[in-house]
Amino acid sequence: MPNPSTAAARRRVTRPAAWPLLVPAAVGFAFLLLPLLGLLAAVPWTRLPEVLGRREVAEALGLSLVSATSAALLCLVLGVPLAWWLSRMRFRGHGFVRALVLVPLVMPPVVGGTALLSTFGRSGLIGAPLHQTSGITVPYSTPAVIMAATFVSMPFLVVAVEGTLRGLDPRLETAARALGASRWYAFRRVLLPAVAPGVAAGMVLAWARALGEFGATIAFAGNLPGTTQTLPLAIYLSLSKDPAAASALSLVLLVASLLAIGLAGSAAPIRGGRR
């Protein structure tokens, strides 16, 4: 098969392998990490124990972790089926239905929080009947924090999972169904495990986004220490009075999240067996 006219091309084989990938990767990584250095430079290391010892810091951190985790789980339960549904749509203009899911993402969080308020608030679309029939007021409670976080983070999970579902060989599902599996069984036992990396990625995105959530929370849930004051809210409030403390709190937030995500990421099998 050797072909003299292309034999000259052989010499080009040993061109440098991966720099067109490694250079932008390094630039990107640096761009994401440099500001972290800027932040670390502002941390008042000597005051750290005092700031971290405050009761409301522990409260806020606890609330943040609890509500981000609850929100991520809610996203999982509601978002994965939603992603599945979106990935199965085949009608004209399905792109617009999918785009609707992104609404919370595009709205600035404060606007989102305000929209939540006008829906689930005491005089809101859903909130008003709810309040009249059961006396329940949703906002300004820990559930409201979780709702706000779920609202802003769900699109991330949905889009990430839908992307992975679309990348999947559609014949896997039909094969499962031909073996007698219902849609639900096939989804649970075949599709879900097959898109596990995408779901994991989506969960991480949703959890992280929920942890950093600020605008929608303050607008919808308020800023009550112990009930609705998450760490980002505490950080924001410190920013004007005591920026050093704000840096210290940011550090807490980052370390907590890096630990959680890093541990989860390292514990997961590096790569499951593949077909």
């Binding site: 404060v110 005491r122 005089s123 809101g124 309040h131 906002p139 300004y140 308020g222 004007s240 009075k241």
Partner: protein, 233 residues
């Protein structure tokens, strides 16, 4: 939400955080209750109150937001005022000496956007003095202006006196006589709310704000008090 000990929840403008935290102790002791504060931008708090936030008292950084909550506010009273201050980073790198220096366009200036209370006051100041200040950024709140000046990313900014005072370690205050001359002050109303579980206690907090102890503390923090002509004593 309520626990065994009575709680009184106060929604207060972010700029009041320092004083209110300081003033909480004596009031809690006297009434054997726990005070809970929700600090946020006044407009956010107002929106929440309209939507049924379980707040007992609302302390706003301007009268507009108190008006916005309408009949939720039972009996608003003014308890403090605030005035504008011109701040520069430590060492005053651009050598700003007064409002006129800001109008030249050579210095990097950040101001509050006119949609938020401090920005509205700044706009009135510019109208009164006739100085057009070309801002490099119109910030969303006092905190943002303060942060940019503190970090040296702006050569000057206009904030409230109380904020300038609280950040005195990092920023310098340049005299701004024009503000007081033009009578540009922000008024802080406080009111018990219709939702209050115990209107009497909420009323007591409002009264406490007018007490000498509270008024002294407010003055200490740089606020003016309605009773005093010279808010800057």
């Amino acid at each position: 939400q309520r626990q065994d000990t009575t709680e009184l929840t106060v929604a207060a403008a972010a700029s009041l955080e320092g004083v209110f935290t300081e003033l909480a102790g004596p009031f809690e002791d006297e009434h054997e209750l726990r005070l809970r504060f929700s600090f946020a931008g006044s407009q956010e708090l107002a929106a929440q109150i309209v939507q049924g936030a379980p707040y007992d008292v609302f302390a706003s950084a301007d009268t507009a937001q108190m008006t916005a909550v309408g009949e939720h506010a039972l009996d608003p009273v003014l308890f403090a005022t605030n005035e504008l201050a011109l701040i520069v980073p430590d060492g005053n790198p651009a050598g700003v000496t007064g409002l006129a220096d800001l109008a030249t366009g050579d210095v990097t200036v950040v101001l509050c956007a006119e949609q938020v209370p401090c920005g509205a006051a700044t706009t009135r100041l510019m109208a009164a003095t006739g100085e057009e200040i070309p801002a490099d950024s119109l910030e969303r709140d006092v905190t943002s202006v303060l942060t940019k000046v503190r970090m040296g990313e702006a050569d000057a900014g206009i904030v409230y006196r109380t904020d300038a005072l609280s950040a005195r370690d990092d920023v310098e205050t340049v005299p701004l006589p024009e503000g007081r001359e033009a009578g540009i002050v922000n008024e802080y109303p406080v009111s018990a709310l219709a939702e209050a579980d115990d209107p009497a206690l909420a009323g007591a907090f409002v009264s406490y704000m007018l007490s000498d102890v509270a008024q002294d503390a407010l003055r200490e923090a740089g606020f003016g008090t309605p009773g005093t002509e010279d808010a800057s004593s």
